[in-house]
Each structure stands twice: as C-alpha cells, then as structure tokens.
C-alpha cells in the first residue's frame, strides 16, 4: 500500500519516457519538461528529495540556537545550529498533526514549539516535551525518541552547508566531484574563506526553475543582448568576451562559464574600492589557486551547482531557485565577500549587488521577464510539443592542461546547459542512485 503510494506506476512509465524528452548530446529538449505537472512531481521526488541542496552558509548561523527556515523542493525545513555546534536540517512539520512548528524566517531560539498542542522540539529536531504529559499515562505508545522532526543529512564544503533527504545518495564530496576544484575559486581564494552578509532577498517568478538554473550554468550568450540596457547605461559599451580565453567547464551537471579577464563581473558593481582590493590580492590568489583559477576570481562568468544553487563570481552573489510548482519559482538572493576583506567593502558589495543583481537591479530586471515568458508560452498544446535548440558549440570540447572536469573552448557556448539537462535526465530516469552515472 505505502509502496504504491510512494512510487505510483506512472513514475516508471514517465521515467522511461524521459530519454525521449531530452537529447542532451544533440541539444534537443522537449518543452513539456518546463510545464507538465507529472514531470514536475517526479522532479520533486527524483531531483530535490535526492540531491544535495544548499541550505545555509556557516556565517549565517554563528551561534547555538540560530536558525533559518527554507525549502528543499517543496518540503519546508528548519536549518539550525544545535547545542553540539553542528548544523541540523529537519522538516518544519510537527509529528503530531503536521502543523508548521516555526513561522519566522530567521532568528535565535532554544526550542521550536508547536502552536497547536504545544509539542516542543530541540535544535536538532528531537522531541523534547509534550504538553500535559500525564494525559499519555496508562497504555501509551508515545515514544519521544521516535517522534522527532524528520531529519535530512547535512554535509558541508568550505562553509557551505548542503542537506539531502536521500540516505542512499553519495557523499557531498562525491556529488560535487571535480567541481569542488572550481568552487575553491570563491570559497578558498583567501585563507579566511567567505562570509555572507546579513539578509536574504526573496522574490517569486512565474517561471519553471530550470530556466534560471540553466541560464546561470552556461548562458553568457544572453548577457550582451538581454543586458544591453544596463551595460550601455553603466559603461557605454558591451564587454569583450574572447573565445580563445574563455571556457565552459562542468562536472556531474554542475557548471561554470567563465573568461580569464579577472574583473569583468566585479567591474559592474560600480565600486573602485572593490577593484583595488582585487588587484591588490591578485598575486595572493595566484599563490593559492594557481594562475589560471586566480584569473576567475572576479571574471565575466556565471555558474550553477546542480540543481538550483547559482552564483556569480565577482558580483559576489549566491542564489537558489526554489520550485513552487512547474510554473513558479522562489528566488533567494545573498551577498558574500571574503571574510578577511576590509570592513568597508561590505557596504560596497551589499549596495553593488542591490544595484545590479537584486529584483530591482539594472541587470536582473530583464532576466525575470525572459524566464517567465519562456515558461508561459507553453500553455499552447502545439507550442509545448516543439523542441528547443541547445546546439551551440557541439564540437568545442578540449583537453586543457590545468582546467578539470569536462572543458569546452569559449564561454559563448551551450555545452554546460547540455550537461545540466543530461544530469537532469540521468536522475529523472534512474530508480536509485546506483543507476546515476558520474559525468
């Protein structure tokens, strides 16, 4: 009975059909994957309930009792720093009748107490107390040790905490694979690592979550066109992207498109002190990361950790695309900087990101419009049976002396998008993690 509820027959049929919807090699993608309820529901099970999902940076929860609330797929979770000093992630849903137990989006607390009948949970999600416990005397199967909030695994990479609901999933380290080497460009260009600036801007887009995620994984092609108005307003011209000095790189569906121009992204923050800081540090970055990766620190680029954690080096913003149905996405945006950077740079980054990559930012403003329209048109039954074209740079794969993972020449490319959809199809078609190949 439970078995059939969890894995409806249609899953198998649907999963078998995924191959027909995504031809990642040739770059043909069926538009139904951006629209259909049934595909979306399978995504929640096979992608979001199965992958490592970013939940918090260490510096967001510095003290015991600090917490925030967010979602993994559509599952509401609490992320908190326990008495053991560790980060815990568990469902924000009482084991008694299911009521939500935490209503604040951030704060500090010793307990999460349910408003309905007063059950209260500790910072690790365990059930600590029930109200009127004497009412359970006599014959009772109330076993507090079994009635804690359902927990996710939590593992971290250099301060970035990820949670995963699948006990069978590989470790975070394996999941990230070669991409860890790239993440170090941001997380480890300085011995102090990074810190997140307080606050988290959230907004809703009427789009499928994959459009923005694939945009960040590899779509530098759109930048000079979509963002022409902002580029011209700020610089009076388009940036130069050199095919011979720029790349797509990916591993396990995670991807980064980048130039080696060092400051292209950072320059749009309109802040001379930020540029000065980067130039002063360049030699130090090179010492830690080697010459090639050091040139990525503030470069024209964008990236995505599969499935939904995107970031921009240089702009210093992380964001997640949280699914809220096949046609709705909640964007969470953060700003970060090197923890050892001079204090006054905090304001420069905070204000610079708001000017460029927040919902009112001069760049981001034009993105939402595109993502929403790419989704909405699929209301047409004929429209959504048409394929989308992802065929740029089919023969651009190269061997590179230093760059790891799968590497492609030129950042104007669609190789990373194809890798993103390949990973998506691998997971959607696989019954268990054992069937998911390393890419």
């Amino acid at each position: 009975m439970t078995e059939s509820l969890l894995k409806p027959d249609s899953n198998a049929k649907l999963a078998a059909g995924i191959e027909e919807l995504v031809d990642a090699e040739a770059g043909n993608i069926d538009r139904r994957i951006f629209w259909d309820e049934s595909i979306y529901n399978l995504e929640l099970e096979r992608i979001f309930a199965r992958c490592w999902i970013f939940v918090a940076h260490d510096t967001q929860l510095p003290n015991v009792g600090d917490f925030l609330t967010t979602t993994i797929g559509e599952d509401a979770v609490i992320v908190s720093r326990g008495e053991d000093g560790k980060i815990h992630t568990f469902l924000n849903s009482c084991t008694h009748r299911g009521n939500r137990v935490c209503f604040a989006e951030a704060g500090n607390s010793r307990r999460f107490t349910c408003n309905f009948h007063g059950w209260s949970y500790g910072l690790d999600g365990s059930l600590k107390n029930v109200s009127r416990p004497q009412s359970y005397s006599g014959k009772s199967n109330l076993d507090k040790s079994k009635l804690g909030l359902h927990k996710a695994r939590v593992e971290s990479y250099k301060g970035m905490h990820f949670a995963c609901f699948d006990p069978e999933a590989p470790s975070l380290e394996e999941y990230l694979g070669e991409f860890r080497w790239y993440l170090d460009v941001i997380l480890d260009n300085d011995e102090g690592g990074i810190e997140f600036i307080d606050g988290n801007i959230k907004s809703r887009l009427k789009c499928n979550w994959k459009f923005p995620a694939e945009n960040f994984v590899g779509d530098s092609y759109h930048a000079p066109w979509t963002h022409s108005s902002a580029l011209i307003a700020m610089f009076g011209k388009q940036p130069t992207m050199r095919p011979d000095r720029s790349y797509h790189a990916n591993a396990n569906g995670h991807g980064w498109e980048f130039g080696l121009d060092f400051i292209g992204n950072a320059a749009t923050l309109n802040s001379p002190p930020i540029i000065d800081y980067l130039r002063e540090q360049e030699a130090k970055f090179a010492e830690r990361l080697g010459k090639v990766r050091s040139r990525m620190v503030g470069a024209l680029s964008s990236a995505n950790v599969f499935p939904n954690l995107s970031f921009l080096a240089g702009h210093n913003t992380f964001r997640t695309w949280n699914p809220k149905g096949p046609r709705s996405t909640e964007l969470h945006t953060w700003v970060f900087l090197n923890a050892n950077a001079p204090e006054e740079l905090k304001e420069e980054y905070r204000r610079g990101v708001m000017l460029t990559f927040s919902p009112a930012g001069v760049f981001e403003m034009d993105d939402g419009e595109n993502f929403e329209n790419c989704t909405a048109v699929n209301v047409g039954v004929v429209t959504r049976q048409q394929q989308l074209h992802f065929g740029m740079g089919l023969d651009s794969k190269i061997e590179h002396e230093e760059l790891r993972g799968n590497v492609y020449q030129s950042q104007i490319n669609e190789a990373n998008q194809r890798a993103f959809y390949q990973r998506w199809a691998d997971l959607m078609g696989a019954e268990t993690w054992a069937d998911v190949p390393v890419r």
């Binding site: 989006e105 704060g107 600036i197 108005s229 902002a230 009112a360 001069v362 939402g368």
Partner: protein, 181 residues
C-alpha cells in the same frame, strides 16, 4: 475654549491645512511623474543628499523586532548617483523588457504630515499601492508604507530628502521592481 476638533488638530497634526495640501499635491505629482516614466523630472524632485531605502523585510518573532535593518540586504539603498544609474538603464532603447511599456499607477493614501525641529522639513507618512500591468495578463501589485522627509529648498520648492519604504511582503510577489515607490 477650544473645540474638540481644534484640539485634535493641534495635538496630532500641527501643520496648516495649506501646507498639508501643498505636500499632498507634491506627492500626487511625484506619483504621476512615475506613472508616466518622466524620470528626469522625477529626479529633480530629489535633494542632492537623498537617501532612498527599500529594505528587505523579514518575518521574525516579536521578541526579535528586527524586521529590517540598515546592515541587511535591501532592494534599494541609494543615493542620487545610484538612482541616476537606474534611470539611465530604464531610458535605454534596448531596455527590451520595457517595450511595450508597463502601465502603472501609484496610489497614495493615509498622508500624515508631522513637523520636525527644522522648520523647513517635515516627516510625512503615507501608504502606497503600485499597480502594474504588462502585455495581456501580467498583473502585479506592490504595497508599502512610506516615511518621507520632505524639505523646502532655498528657492521655496518642496523636495524629497529621505524615503523609507516598508513593503508588505517578505517574499516579493513579483519578478522585479521596475519603478520607484
């Protein structure tokens, strides 16, 4: 003997009806300039030292009381230079997302004018509803409470010197904010 009416006016709103009307008209005119995308004229209503702030609002427990803070992320935390950059982008012919243009209105209500220690400056509370419509059926509403500082400059004209906009939403129910509030 004062009538009850006069007492109320003196205690809660000790500015003249004339000034109240002048400030109200100033805010209505500002709203119309924004509706019509007359951004250069809008910029002229701002003092050189304007601070325009739309903080991110968080749902926090009462004991925290920190729904927003100046150190946290915001939608806008701008001086005149940043506001001019935003206007310059909106005016580009290649601002594709603004063509056809958004149809806006800014509805202003609950205007309350309070004197300050500076006889040329007033604190002005108001509520704003910005309604947006794009293409056939793309409809968005932004709702907020505002606290302004309005100043009379040396030429005798009113200008906006500070604005704090507290949105109703903790999660912005829209893809962007392509106007000023």
């Amino acid at each position: 003997m004062k009538t009850l009416e006069q007492t109320t006016r003196r205690d809660h709103c000790s500015v003249s009806a004339e000034l109240l009307l002048e400030i109200q008209q100033f805010l209505y005119r500002e709203a119309r300039l924004l509706d019509n995308e007359q951004y250069d004229e809008w910029l002229e209503l701002l003092t050189d030292d304007i601070h325009y702030w739309v903080p991110g609002v968080q749902a926090r427990y009462r004991k925290d009381e920190a729904k927003f803070s100046s150190e946290r992320m915001a939608y806008f935390d701008d001086g005149l230079e940043y506001l001019k950059i935003r206007v310059a982008r909106a005016k580009q012919p290649s601002a594709w997302a603004e063509d056809p243009p958004t149809r806006h209105f800014h509805l202003i209500g609950n205007i309350e004018v309070l004197p300050t220690e500076d006889s040329n400056e007033w604190t002005v509370h108001s509520v704003i509803l910005n309604h947006r419509h794009r293409t056939e059926d793309d409809e968005m509403e932004l709702k907020a409470r505002r606290v302004d500082t309005i100043r009379r400059n040396s030429e005798g004209l009113l200008q906006l010197a500070r604005r704090k906009v507290i949105l109703q939403e903790t999660v912005l129910q829209a893809k962007n904010i392509n106007t000023f509030l």
